[in-house]
Subunit: 354 residues, 3 copies
């Protein structure tokens, strides 16, 4: 675990640093990709991100407060602007003070996106497009877990949903997931793993969603799971079911419940991550009680993964030289890690010109 | 503390891994001699022990469940047999899957015994004989402590009972322990330290046991303490007292209370151990209330040792180069450690043939 | 953090090891300047300090008990005298037993002072003189915090009181501290940083003290802060205020509230310290309720520093190579550290004679 931080994750890319509502008047200190960062909003409500280290004496800027367009250190009053330039400090000429490193941030789709690497390469164009996030046809809710494992173990987890049969056997698992082969392929820049299950019963959580939508819960369904990985560590799962024989994924919305499970996984350290999870649905949009209920149940289900992942992490650290198997079901994770490794190698390439 | 694990304990030997009732339908994960192990019973009730690491992705098998003769990984359903051979996994051909390491285990005398070293050398014949364990003439109860110290500090503790005068002064200690010399000798493969105290008063706990047995508690007694160490780290204490002048250890059972204090100490890491302790008595066999009461009092008394041992451990780690004294009272521990060291050296000897 | 302990603090000097009332019949184990030490009083009430390590088997002597002039190990009864000589042990001839290291200690001014270095250089003459401690003209109360930071960060904190404006803004801070330049100079062996504020309002805590003394709390005052650092890590703050225009620091006691904030900071490890803080006042001497109330409020205020300091410590450890700024306001801390560094260098100088 002594590798330099850049070996484990790409840095010239956008990560979710926080949900929009986590960053309010009070600054938020958070370690992202091995760097201690403070996120805050200036008085105009714009988000900024700085190195969480006051250049005066090393105090944590996140213990400070916002004044106008600056973050004021809570120790001795040094004020830093949103770009990292020291603005003022009582009784001091700050012209020669060192700059505080600032990080590109963008607020979009309810999240604060942060670019931990070379700021000159950051561009809003590189942000993922999330159709469900601002659309009136989708309803979203989610949460945040702090998980003590390498973020890539969570990517593996989400790209191989056969684990639902075991880890989530009482809610969304069913033996047909295990029994139905999946297909992994590259679609553009995404790794996509698809599993289509025809004529299967609905497991408990999905029965409940069918009922909510006014559909019978005791009939066979066509169930789909389409996992999309994109760099650096976003996993979007299209999951749902339709009454059997109506076209499955492409069935009319009146006979299906379809949803998007959202997973943004942000490395904190080599062995921990911030896991932003959520659920967007395209049915019963105005049912607030359902929104809350789904979020609570998703928290319970995703909490089941945490224990498995954290023990897996301890095992992997304990036996760093053991080779793991790469089965067909692991293809999604394996391919995703290849994209990650390639992105890291790309960043570390020596400059072409000599 | 960076020595290889094999330097601190023998491995080609039987350790107590768990009490029989700790291993039920639910698998039990436990680190033993530096190795993370899962113990479980198959549907026939037979105990097995495997490396707690799924060869698929490194998940902890101890989070799984038992199905028939196999332990099924709770992450993606790989099933391992009791010998460590992968039995099946949904959708996979497992013929080429690597074997999971299995460990010889035997259930006997109410304990699960595990052989952490070379399985080819394991033999039930090498298990210790515990006359009290399955005999109608003895009644046993005990418990388990997780102690943060090198297991050898606990061996030292049990082979020098002068500590009772200080650590357990309100229950089983008395100044005559300190004042009476002990004798240490080899008896077969055992280190035996004997202390016989004639015409002494009984300390509080023993007064209470005398009363239970219908004997006066205010008369002088002959008290004995015979400590038996055997490899790898078993300490059996024959302790008791008889009304003075009736023959002490050899007195008729009507005028004595005699018991066996049982101590199986299993290394977990270099600085922690699993301490299985208990008490077998040969009087008042049918008094269940007494059984419970003795176990509770033993837990209290042995808990007094834990604080001393854990602080001693921190001191020993802090000053690894300080020589400790080896007094006559320490002879039991010193001899026991010599047996341990010799067993370790024996295991690490290069093969004879070149 | 792997430097030898002597690099971070002088050892041939007196530190506060405990308050007098912390060391009673029961021995007290405490790590001071990286050394695990036991403090105790013999039956005559005299304080002694020994290495907290029994030469027999390394048990913590602080778990033992006092008997006469000795500390008896609570494991096997070895008794050590106050000078570290082993006095006796049941059944043993102790003439050849190794000496336990003892440390010079003196009880004075309500504190136990300990000299962690070369005992031959220890002299009571080198103890600081604390006029307020035993004088009928002062009333003192204080407390102890265990702080997870390099003791020098706490010295910096106390020698630059501009932090009051931010860290203690609701009690003793005011913007005029920031706005008024301070002066740092050597006065004898002390670093003295002085700030005099004329015609300023009194902040809330001081308003309350003015009222207690029968003075109006809504008038302008002359406020002073005089910070005295002396080796090894004592910071004495003369702080107070007088009704404006009456002479400030030198005003008649009827129109001022003057006090001494006491800070003895004893290194525990490279990253933690024992912080003995207190407050001596020269007004309302007999008001016990006020004494308690001031101590409680001081505990709250100094607790605000702890969070800042512990996060600063983590930042400093995280980025050991970052240079911090040394501004005019930091002069007190910078000078104090120079004295510390010089004292350490002096101790480590090779002997002159070859």
């Amino acid at each position: 675990m002594n590798l330099p931080a850049t070996s484990l994750w790409p840095t010239n890319t956008w990560y979710v640093a926080a949900t929009a509502d986590e960053v309010s008047g009070k600054p938020l200190g958070r370690q992202i990709c091995g760097q201690q960062i403070v996120l805050f909003r200036n008085d105009a409500g714009e988000v900024a991100a700085l190195d969480d280290f006051c250049p005066h004496r090393g105090a944590a800027l996140s213990l400070g407060f916002v004044r106008g367009d600056t973050l004021v250190c809570g120790y001795h009053g040094l004020a830093v602007g949103c770009t990292g330039k020291v603005a003022c400090m009582p009784g001091q000429r700050v012209g020669g003070f060192p700059q505080v490193r600032s990080f590109p941030v963008i607020e979009r789709h309810g999240f604060i996106w942060l670019w931990p690497g070379d700021a000159s390469q950051a561009s809003p164009e590189l942000l993922p497009r999330l159709e469900w996030a601002d659309s009136p046809e989708w309803r979203y809710a989610g949460g945040l877990f702090h998980v003590q494992c390498d973020y890539r173990l969570l990517v593996d987890n989400l790209m191989d949903l056969t684990h639902e049969t075991y880890v989530h056997r009482t809610s969304i698992g069913q033996k047909e997931i295990d029994e139905t082969p999946c297909k992994t392929e590259m679609v553009g820049d995404e790794v996509v793993t698809t599993r289509l299950m025809g004529n299967v019963p609905a497991p408990p959580l999905w029965q409940s969603l069918m009922r909510q939508h006014g559909l019978p819960d005791d009939q066979l369904v066509d169930r789909w799971q389409i996992c999309h990985f994109s760099l650096p560590s976003h996993v979007i799962l299209e999951v749902g079911m339709a009454l059997a024989g109506h076209g499955g994924y492409n069935a009319d919305s009146s006979v299906k419940v379809s949803s998007i499970v959202v997973d943004f996984i942000t490395p904190e350290t080599e062995t921990s991550n911030w896991y932003f999870w959520g659920f967007a649905r395209s049915f019963c949009l105005d049912d607030d009680e359902l929104t809350t209920s789904i979020r609570d149940r998703q928290a319970t289900i995703f909490g089941e993964d945490v224990e498995v992942l954290e023990q897996q992490q301890r095992n992997v650290v304990r036996y760093p030289d053991r080779k793991l198997l790469k089965l067909n079901i692991d293809a999604g994770g394996v391919r995703s890690r290849m994209l990650i490794d390639r992105a890291i190698a790309e960043e570390n390439k020596p400059p072409v010109n000599a």
